[in-house]
């Protein structure tokens, strides 16, 4: 971290730059012990549907589209779409049923989420800025539609620090088939200290965390050599540090090797789901054959295994003190589709992805609840934008940045409510003057964590930057 920033963060304006780097490895955040308000939540899970999930096929029920289905869609204005020109109105591919005491209508394809409908707060009037994937993704992950800004997870890690120094505070579980638009930019710390960047973990992969252990094919590093080598290194580095008093970086470095060794144990233990009871594995929809499940053709079983395993690992990480977990469904916008960018065919591609997501997400919510952790864990479901109410070549849908859906759950969220509606088609907000923006969602999440989003700032190139730019209002209606 640049001394300049630390200087400002610490509120020492007026003194000279720099401060004693006494506790480089302290895992406290800048707001530890000085939160702006009593927190309702301690940790966050962000579920990100890469490629843009269709609100009208999943959560935002539009009977009007059933009526108009197949007729040329006419919103009464000219609409400029990303790839196509507006086709016929297209009803949801799946039927909707009502769930829970709240009676929320939810699509059959995500029926497992119906079982937790009373825990969910829906926001159906989110608006984006453009219909370009990269920008939409960055906007949701960092609050800005161009690169250069820290991820929401980095801000939370920066503010709150970690509850467990043996694990990273911000963990990312990407789609194993590839990274979404912008790649690692979606979890990079940019001008926040690098320790707040998301650490990638690939559950089920041969090497879930880069460099956690020596290369398997090493012909000389044995466990004994590793252990003895660390002991020797500590001795030599301590000698170097002792000869150079007053430089806390050198002692921090020695400690970083101790922590590395402990992280090897903690992370391995956290990622080992083998001892989870069968009913828990079933709750998350894990496949008997595990991560190697066949997905030559996109299918429900595989998508459930992939997403469910990430959700289960997320729970284990949250239990062990990880502050922010970002879970991805879907890879880049390549072919064959393994993401939500269903220009060609909603049913074929959304179907398995949505069911897999719903099983995993519902499993996570139920599991956190039965462990008493849902009360202080916020879950945010989001995507880069929505999809159009009209068809693209009959069975697909083009981008809709004009309105889409988020839902939140747990951690002080009022369940069973819907705030903000879209219009009769799910084309734009019903009240165009009062849409919800990502800033409001982020402000609300920070609020639940005890943070005033206007007061968590870092000066960078002359601007006191914050996650919510110069916008954002806490959505009181969805806070319990």
């Amino acid at each position: 971290m640049s001394i300049e920033r630390r200087h400002f963060l610490a509120g020492l304006a007026g003194t000279f730059p720099g401060m004693a780097l006494t506790d480089l490895l302290a895992r406290d955040g800048v707001l530890s012990g000085t939160l702006h308000r009593p927190p309702r939540a301690k940790r966050v899970v962000q579920l990100f549907m890469a490629g843009a999930a269709s609100h009208v096929d999943l959560f935002d029920h539009k009977p009007q589209l059933v009526k108009e289905h197949g007729q040329q869609w006419d919103p009464g204005e000219e609409v400029e779409l990303f790839q196509s020109t507006p086709g016929a109105s297209m009803k949801s591919v799946w039927d909707f049923q009502r769930y829970g005491n709240c009676g929320k209508a939810i699509s059959d394809v995500v029926a497992p989420l119906g079982e937790v409908a009373d825990d969910l707060a829906f926001v159906h009037n989110i608006v984006g800025k453009t219909g370009v994937h990269s920008q939409g993704t960055l906007l949701q992950t960092t609050g800005f539609n161009r690169p250069g800004f820290p991820s929401a997870g980095s801000w939370v890690s920066y503010a709150l620090g970690s509850e467990n120094e043996n694990l990273p505070s911000f963990v990312v579980l990407p789609d194993h088939r590839g990274l979404a638009s912008n790649g690692t930019k979606n979890w990079s710390s940019m001008f926040l200290p690098a320790e707040h960047q998301g650490t990638v973990i690939r559950p089920g992969a041969a090497t879930p965390i880069d460099d956690l252990f020596p290369p398997e094919d090493s012909d000389y590093i044995t466990p004994a050599a590793d252990r003895d080598g660390l002991a020797l290194l500590e001795k030599l580095n301590s000698g170097y540090a002792t000869a150079r008093p007053g430089d806390s970086r050198l002692t921090a470095r020695i400690r970083s090797y101790e922590l590395a060794a402990r992280m090897q144990l903690s992370a391995t233990e956290a990622l080992d789901v083998s001892k989870e009871p069968q009913y828990i594995k079933d709750l998350y929809g894990l496949a008997p054959e595990g991560p190697g499940v066949d997905d030559t053709e996109i299918n429900v079983k595989a998508e459930t295994e992939f997403f469910g395993r990430k959700c289960l690992v997320a729970r284990r990480l949250l239990e062990r003190g990880v502050r922010f977990v970002q879970i991805w469904s879907g890879n880049d916008n390549g072919f064959p589709r393994r993401n939500w960018d269903s220009h060609e065919n909603i049913e074929r591609d959304h179907g398995p992805l949505a069911r897999g997501m719903a099983v995993g997400a519902a499993g996570l919510i139920k599991d956190l609840k039965q462990r008493g952790m849902l009360d202080d864990t916020v879950i945010l479901w989001t995507t880069e934008f929505g999809r159009m109410p009209c068809a693209q070549r009959g069975v697909g849908r083009d981008h809709n940045p004009f309105v889409f859906t988020n839902w939140l759950c747990g951690g002080g969220i009022r369940g069973g409510v819907t705030h903000g509606e879209s219009d009769q088609w799910g084309f734009k907000p019903l009240d165009p003057d009062n849409p919800t923006q990502v800033y409001d969602i982020h402000a609300t999440v920070l609020h639940l964590l005890g943070i005033d989003h206007e007061r968590l700032t870092v000066r960078h190139n002359s601007i006191d930057r914050r996650l919510t730019d110069v916008h954002g209002h806490v959505i009181r209606e969805i806070v319990a």
Binding site: M1, S2, I3, E4, G14, F16, P17, G18, M19, L24, E80, F82, T130, G131, V132, H133, S134, Q135, P147, G148, N166, G178, S181, N182, G183, T184, F191, P193, A194, T199, D210, D211, P215, Y220, I221, A225, D228, G229, L232, L236, Y240, A241, R244, G246, R249, L250, R253, I254, S256, Y257, L259, A260, M263, D332, N333, G334, N461, S462, I463, V470
Partner: protein, 977 residues
Amino acid sequence: MKFPLLPSLFAAASAVLPVHGAADDPLAILEQNCLSCHNAHDAKGDVVFETAPIQIDDLSQILDSISGPDPEMPKDRDALSAAEVATLAKWIEAGAPIPEGRVLKDTYVPGRDWWSLQPIEQGQVADATHSNDPWVKNEIDAFVLAKLREKNLAPSPEAEPRVLVRRLYYDLTGLPPQPEEIDAFVTDYARDPEGTWAALVDRLLASPNYGEHWARHWLDVARYGETHGYDKDKPRPNAWPYRDYVIRSLNDDKPWSRFVREQIAGDVLFPGDPDGIVALGFIAAGPWDFIAHYEVGEKKVDGRIAKHMDRDDMVSATFNAFMSTTVQCAQCHHHKFDPVSMEDYYRLHAVFAAVDRAPRVYDLDPEVQRKRERLSVEIGKAEGAIKTLDQRIKNEGGPELARLRERIGVLKKAGAEGVKKDPAYGYHSQIVKSPDTEKWVQVDLGEPVAIEAIELIGAHDEFGGIGAGFGFPVRYRVEVADNLDFTENRRVIADRTDADQANPGIAPVRLAAKGETARYLRVTATRLAERKNDYILALGEIRVLDEAKTNLAAGRSVGALDSIEQGVRWGRKNLVDEKFATGGDPAAARELAELLEKERALLAKIDTPEMRDERAAHEANLAKLREQLGALPEGKLVYAAATHFRKFGNVVPTEGQPREIHLLQRGDIGSPGDLMHPGAPALWDGGTPEFDLSKDATEGEARAALANYLADPANPLTWRSVVNRLWLHHFGRGIVDSPNDFGRMGMAPTHPELLDFLAAKLRNDPDQSLKAIHRLIVTSATWRQASAHDPERAAVDANNAYYWRANRRRLSAEELRDSVLFVAGKLNPERGGPSFQDFVIEKPQHSPHYQYHLYDPDDPKTQRRSIYRMIVRSKTQPFLTTLDCADPSQMVAKRDETTTALQALALLNNPFMETMAGHLAERVESNPDPITAAFNRATGRAPHANERAALAAYAKTHGLANACRVILNLSEFAYVD
């Protein structure tokens, strides 16, 4: 907000204090003092003064907040004068009226009363006693000593020679010295310290390693990367010449003003010099949204938003890098802290209004290059025109045509799957550039025979993805005659020259000849099939059948206007060898033929003669243009700012015609204000915000004006900015520790006079030599101090802001990687040229996956210095990122320095480290004392006895490679005293 001001620099301040609105005009006072926050958009505190009625809970709040000894408002600004408060009081009393229709606007732009905007002073040490102190080796020391004494501090003694030499190597070259070099230096230094030191400094500054090391610092600031970033993150294969340009410029010690001017307008200011174009890589170095520009384009709102953001990147990068000024803050409102108005900001957009990021030829004669550019643009236009015609057909063909074509595509693919073909494909004419070239091929049947039917069978070649029907004529006629030249008794069997024919694929086209008797049969194409932007006639087989269906043409002699005789595949004789492609699905083939016929019929209705003529004209033109371009030398490409290039996707070259730039209210593309002309903020006396350009000035002249503005000797920022960057990388902290921001939100200089001394020295030096500044710095006593801690001095200045010692520094990510390679004896010395890739690209077609875990650290190509690494934006190199490498999507003035468990894991376990520790062991194993040799290479000293003993014992148990792994993880390797 209050900042520590430096009184000496503020002598001139009063002259340029911001002027409040006329004291008797309440609305002017509001606009000047209140509207930047209390406008309808920001509505701070829910108070808005934009229109009548003003929005506030209670009018009395206004007076309460602006009066009293320490008024709350205006926030962060000077209090209003008594007269102004009185004026507002009267206005409030009158009911706070604002005339109907008047909308108050923010008029406040901060003044130039700020240290960095004052003229650069010569920078002299006030008290000569400092200059005469024996500790002082040059002017730098006098400034530093003056400040130390002011703070009751004293400098530290000079560092050990062994420490100095390692520090110098790293500071100037980014690589460690060899043990032998250290030993030789230590010996010589004892004999003649100053002479030895000066010689080493000169030698290292002259080393090409210098440019490779310092280029990294500039490329961090220039946000240089070799992929676009955003979605799909495509590679930029031609970005590297800019990287080499930076290295070359630094090694050549190019005058700073030239370096600055080349990067903004080198093409205009230094025509004929390739560097003038390569340097424009700076403007293009940042991320670029491929999808929003290439796929969406400026015809759509999203494309225009992307283009706006694209220009913002150019504008911000230019001002942050060269002038440490954050103009980007004025995108949505006037800069709140520095004298940059929205107008200033959008004038800068106007400077870059004609450029895009594109590959650009840099090494050709300017005249040739202009021709190439013009031809490329013309080709793009002709292609575009043809595309437009295609689109018109597509539109008019509507769903019917779309369905037909979709089905045809499916059938073609299905057909291709079962095709059997012989390696002898058939006959192939010479290639031509225009479709409307007549070509013919004929068969001599040996004697006049009665012909019942003729079959033309299309060839099959996957070239260009064409497959069945490759080269089959679009229009043609079939004739018979009695003599070779077709002058005697010429009869037409079939004439299909009046309209384009559907391609039959490999299905035989059967023409009835009704018993005509003839010896010669000729197929004449009047419109050729497209191959790949060029045209040919090809046929798989001609069969001439008699009543008994015997093929009379088999093995006969074939003549043609021209032909390609190439290996087994193509040759005249292949036309009658009874070998031709067959198979596929016959039902599909039949359906295909039918659909092709339908398509042809449909197109015949849409494609008017006018359209056909138009297309033919474009195609002829295109062929001509391509030929002209093909005749010119190709030249080498750099990814740079460009105005003339071949249209790609929806990126259309401006040909130097600037886009119209409007001031955008709140930065919103939907709220355009006044039309803006090129200019730059007047940040010093004599500057004018709009450039003095004639009405018909070219876009290049606007960029040249900006380049000259940046390099103006009167510019107070450029010179301070660069010397501060040099200082930063020698001392670990800038004199101004916000190197990209010298404005009011940045840091104040710790040593303003020293900063000005260095800035003036560089500016006034006829050679504007950076190396001269480096030399001055590293020969100073200040730089040569030991880095040892001292509790007493630390109690006064814990952070060493006044340089009472040297700062111990950690190696940057690249220095560490390069040093590991160097120490292991594996550093590949190859300089310049295309970057190495320490990853494998999977799925390159759509969104390339950059897979770092698949690369082989033992591949010598990857063992070059890190400056030659291909920098990917969407997936930064994980090992280097963990070690605080700069992110290429933002301008990084100064690296972070974090210490994390993940770093320890990377240094212990990354395959690169594992491999190199093994190589270090191999390198030293034949040495009589391998432990000492390895330790010495890594740290620049021999291990102490106890260190040696411990490492040797460990090596005895676990092997030398493990001991080397420990050595490469030593703090002493990673830090420089």
